[in-house]
């Protein structure tokens, strides 16, 4: 069997092909990396008006039962007990070493929780979480394959979505959600979240309806289809971590500037707590930073980083930020120098290029209503 035959497709695969998308293998799926307009145009459309992403490859696990909150609190680092019904938060799953198995969103519904995980980690996360269910009184269901996820992102997203729903979108605050009808499709989870820094919504619903919802949202002619390429430049300009580039199971939340996701005081027990307490006491040896390079030098994942002439890790993420109009990237630096203004070098094809640590986000002007 060839690799291609094992790749999955979202319910919108044919729609992407018809739009002329470039399809690439990503996390086990054939996904649109860009449409004919190109990454830069799609990026600017999201910053200035509105873009629509198919991110149905993402995984969704539903946790149900009297012990659901205690269980998710045990396997994630953020404090699920703090979530109101209709609220979501960003979190991480750590292992006993305190390093990140995945980052995720946790949604609190009336009678269950939904965990949204990275597509590339669905199987790994399932095994990691399920093996720690122990005596918690709850059950978990993997609904990834039948759940569509569309991200409508950009300052015009609320007005676009309002044409297709009677739900009062103004009442949905950042990182809150409701369930309602969109484009005639019932039981859509309408979440004011995203991975772009712009205002917008993520819509979760039964995947059979994906072509109809996509067509409705695109019908006004003012929404650009946007691919994974633009999703990457948008998130990197916001300094948002990408699993596999910026974070993985060798990185703790403290090292990745995600200390705000670790609730040591509120939670006496959760997977990874002991290791995280130990690192906090001993001191965090390195931190993820954002940096810029002089124009015409593009940092890429894996390029070597040098501090005072010594190699000090590799570039995690890198691109040219279309909005900031500069080469931008992320890497780990020793904690004592991991602050804006620090100078170091990135090796690009044999040349040491001067890099400067920048404050994150690179693009502070996003329309997301925090």
């Amino acid at each position: 069997m060839s690799v291609l035959e094992t790749l999955q497709r979202t319910a919108l695969y044919d729609v992407h092909v018809a739009l002329g998308a470039r399809i690439v293998p990503f996390a086990g799926f054939e996904m649109p990396v860009q449409y004919p307009a190109g990454i830069t145009a799609e990026h600017h459309a999201v910053r200035k008006s509105c873009g629509l992403f198919d991110v149905s490859h993402m995984g969704e696990f539903l946790v149900t039962g009297p012990g659901a909150i205690d269980f998710v609190n045990y396997v994630t680092t953020n404090d699920v007990a703090k979530l109101a019904v209709g609220q979501a938060h960003y979190s991480t799953f750590c292992n006993e070493r305190g390093t990140i198995e995945d980052d995720c969103l946790v949604y609190r519904f009336e009678d269950h929780l939904m965990l949204v995980v990275n597509a590339s980690n669905i199987a790994k996360d399932w095994a990691h979480i399920e093996s720690r269910m122990l005596t918690f009184d709850c059950t978990m269901e993997n609904v990834s394959a039948r759940t569509a996820l569309l991200a409508l992102q950009g300052p015009l997203a609320p007005s676009v979505l309002a044409r297709h729903t009677s739900v009062n979108l103004d009442a949905i605050a950042y990182y809150h959600f409701t369930v309602g009808t969109v484009a005639g499709v019932e039981h859509v989870t309408i979440s004011r979240t995203g991975y772009t820094g712009e205002d917008g919504f993520e819509l979760y619903f039964a995947d059979a309806h994906a072509p109809a919802v996509w067509a409705a949202l695109m019908s006004g002619g003012d929404v650009s289809p946007a691919g994974l390429g633009a999703r990457d430049t948008l998130r990197l300009e916001m300094g948002m971590a990408l699993y596999g580039n910026d974070i993985d199971d060798t990185v703790t939340p403290y090292e990745a500037n995600l200390a705000w996701l670790v609730k040591l005081t509120a939670k006496e027990r959760f997977v990874g707590r002991d290791a995280l307490v130990a690192q906090k006491m001993a001191g965090v040896p390195r931190k993820l930073v954002g940096f810029t390079l002089p124009v015409r030098n593009v940092p890429r994942h894996g390029m070597r980083v040098f501090v005072d002439g010594e190699q000090s890790g590799e570039v995690c993420s890198g691109t040219v930020g279309p909005s900031v109009a500069l080469p931008i990237g992320t890497c780990f630096l020793p904690t004592d120098i991991a602050k804006p203004g620090t100078h170091f070098h990135v090796e690009i094809r044999g040349t040491l290029v001067p890099a400067t640590v920048a404050a994150l986000p690179f693009w502070p002007s996003g329309s997301a209503k925090k």
Binding site: I39, V320, P322
Partner: protein, 129 residues
Amino acid sequence: MSQIPANLQYTKDHEYVAGAADADIVTIGITDFAQGELGDIVYLDLPKVGSTFAEHAVFGTIEAVKAVSELFSPLAGEVVEVNARLDGEPALVNSDPFGDGWMIRMKVADTNARAALMTADAYKALLGE
């Protein structure tokens, strides 16, 4: 399907060579297929006039949003002109690869070497189009 002008010659690395078969000076760039594969081009690192390259030597790099690629000289020769517009308008390579998006003009060391380049039909076959 990408454009493959019939009157040009091609390499398997997706460069094209334009110019009459016996011309001393040829124009070199990348094909429509190549620019499509690279996506939005953000800058090019091109050689200086007077630089000389062996056949298949790296004469520059091309940076797109998602990827970087090296440029291989289809022929041996000396660079006699560089497309200065690409410095400020790298996207010309995306919008007009065979026209305003040309990269360098080269004085070829041996015009007979042109015979080894691919025809449009051969390049079309390479792309499976």
